[in-house]
Amino acid sequence: MADTASAIGERGRRVYWGIASAALLVLLAVAANRLAAVSPKALEYPLWAAVLGLVANVIASGLKVKDKLGAVIRTELFLKVGLVLLGAAVNITEVLSVGVRGLVQALVLVTTVFFFTWWLGGVLQLEKKLRAVMCAAVSICGVSAAIAAAGSILAKKEHLAYVTAMVIITALPLMVLMPWIAAAAGMPPQWAGAWFGGNIDTTAAVVGAGAIYGEEAVRIASIVKMAQNALIGVVAFLLALYWVAREERVGGERPSARVLWDRFPKFVLGFIVVSVLASAGAFTKAQVKDITALRNWAFTLAFIGIGWDLALGEFRKIGLRPLAVYLAATVFNTVLALGVSWVLFGR
């Protein structure tokens, strides 16, 4: 009898804390959404979500209720759901409908910047997983690419938080500086838009820079950015394959197909299937908008979880070398994008 009462009491407590945890998560997600809506364009929701998660982390830890209050926070699950939904935003047909130049620029920039950043990260002896997340972020499109890479190779949460912060913080000055430089140099809108799209690391900042410079620049910047975004799935797939086949090898033996399949992150396949559906025209514009909103909510929940789990001591261990690599890679990307976009859009 006493055991039954105790079991019921324990179950009741779990339900109570589960509801409290869910309520906290919803509150933080809505708060992050509101803050992102009222702040400068480049200070996007992942940053706010992570900050709010961190604040909740500190308060809950102080009150010694962190374990109980974190009952429904499932960072990895939210990230992966968001990544599956991200596929709807990757429409290869739409990218190709305006010609192949955007795709060519994307292929050249993503490949070159990825391997340059990988090399530079190696020179400064960065951890491999951090390097991979950073390479994806700086070469492709910032936060979504960083999330996809982190999920593919099971990076540390601090790696993802660190790279996300760098992406968002560098996007803001670039959003202002690049249109100013383009205007001062008298760059035509097509060339300027291609340059913005090929360089600035968040989609919002790209559109912002294009909007400062004009309608035609917005159009070209958005298409070039979409072409780069289309490569997220490819890079995530290849990274996952490489990591499972080479980095996670046990005893120097080549992993079998079975092992490769077991370890391969299946959500990448979900992303690709959704992307194929989007490219085949399975979704209307309104449906893509709704799926994108759901994706943003999923990522918001994920970044709250990242802030919730953050250990600031891990950031101190990471240090400032990654920041130096990221900044150098961004400068390289900026100069290379200027040249490539001139060849394809400026002549």
């Binding site: 959404n33 960072t75 990895e76 699950l77 990230l79 992966k80 759901v81 990544l83 599956v84 939904l85 709807a88 997983k129 982190a150 999920g151 099971l154 990076a155 540390k156 949460k157 601090e158 993802l160 992150p265 299946k266 959500f267 396949l269 979900g270 959704v274 979704f283 309104a286 449906q287 908008k289 709704d290 799926i291 994108t292 909103a293 759901l294 943003n296 909510w297 250990a311 891990e314």
Partner: protein
């Protein structure tokens, strides 16, 4: 030492890994959008 990496997990229900649950949930959400059950999602 606490594991700090993003983890692979299994969930007891249907013995699906977290990756497959993400795919199931993602597809379910998309299906709800296509069926009109979820529309005008605020953001």
């Amino acid at each position: 030492m606490e594991e700090r990496t993003l983890r692979r997990r299994e969930y007891p229900l249907l013995r699906l890994s977290e990756d497959w649950w993400a795919v199931v949930i993602g597809f379910l959400l998309i299906a709800l959008v296509l069926l009109g059950v979820l529309s005008h999602v605020p953001w």
